[in-house]
């Protein structure tokens, strides 16, 4: 990466959310990555946001009550027996 490609903190922080969300590609991704490897303050910010996002990601599953799972199974069984079935080439 050349000096002229270097990204400053303001730009890096502006793109940080998209970087952590996996929405940056190509040169922009590389520039943010390089900045985080060379700027302690932005790296710390990045680590904080990444860990908070990871903790939120751990909330993506919840225990399903057995009776509710059974209800869903019965619902699907009813669908399959009903005349309003979707076409099988879905």
């Amino acid at each position: 990466m050349t000096h002229s490609d270097a990204m400053n903190c303001e730009e890096a922080l502006r793109l940080l959310a998209e970087f952590l969300d996996g929405e940056l590609h190509g040169a922009e991704h590389a520039h943010v990555q390089h900045h985080l490897e060379t700027c302690r303050s932005c790296y710390s910010r990045s680590e904080f946001e990444r860990r908070l996002k990871a903790q939120l990601g751990q909330m993506g599953r919840e225990d399903v009550r057995p009776s509710f799972e059974q209800h869903i199974r019965q619902l699907i069984t009813q669908f399959t027996a009903s005349p309003a079935k979707p076409s099988s080439d879905a």
């Binding site: 929405e23 303050s41 904080f48 903790q55 993506g60 599953r61 919840e62 869903i72 699907i76 399959t80």
Partner: protein, 198 residues
């Protein structure tokens, strides 16, 4: 009479639904903030998914597809009673816990912001998410809790990607503000700047 193809489709559908059921329940719980409403929402989404199954061209995309149905159903149920603006005048400035806590001369692993995260419980996050207004909560839940892409969220909510970006930015700011406030109330917050949230 159920044909072999229909039976295969039904069997595949059941396995696909059961495979993501804990995820759907989690999403619905955070969207509705109510266990009973959440189960009703999931059941309704599963019914709509079955009826709409012919529109699913790639079964590998089932997860994003059924999340879209769940979100659409939630928004359709909520749209009638109230509409929330994307703009909250008193919430325009970004709030960052990191900026409240960061001490630049400390290394990351000894910093108060790391300590703050270490002390957070799932319950703290649940309470904070539940306090975020619906428009922004939906974006944060889909992106951060369930890992949907911006495009998947845009499709689910029916807005442009730029709107997803701005809702996420505001939603995350509001979430951090709610977390900070809750942490202060619960005595979780560590230090060093004893600022009140206004």
């Amino acid at each position: 009479m159920v044909t072999v193809d229909q039976s295969d489709t039904a069997s595949w559908f059941e396995q696909a639904v059961l495979g993501v059921l804990p995820n759907l329940v989690a999403a619905a719980r955070r969207l509705t903030r109510n266990a009973t409403d959440a189960e009703d929402l999931v059941a309704e989404a599963v019914a709509k998914a079955w009826l709409g199954l012919p529109s699913l061209k790639d079964r590998n995309r089932f997860r994003g597809w059924i999340f879209r149905i769940l979100t659409n159903e939630f928004l359709a149920q909520r749209r009638a009673p109230r509409l929330e603006s994307d703009v909250l005048p008193d919430e325009m400035s970004e709030f960052s816990i990191f900026e409240q806590l960061h001490q630049p001369f400390l290394l990351w692993w000894s910093n108060p912001e790391k300590e703050f995260l270490d002390k957070l419980l799932r319950e703290d996050l649940v309470r904070a998410i539940d306090r975020v207004p619906e428009t922004f909560r939906v974006a944060v839940i889909l992106a951060d809790v369930h890992g949907l892409s911006y495009q998947e969220i845009a499709d689910a909510v029916g807005v442009p990607i730029g709107t997803v970006r701005s809702r996420l930015a505001r939603g995350r700011s509001l979430l951090q503000k709610a977390l900070w406030q809750h942490a202060r109330d619960a005595g979780v917050r560590t230090q060093p700047k004893d600022r009140d949230v206004t």
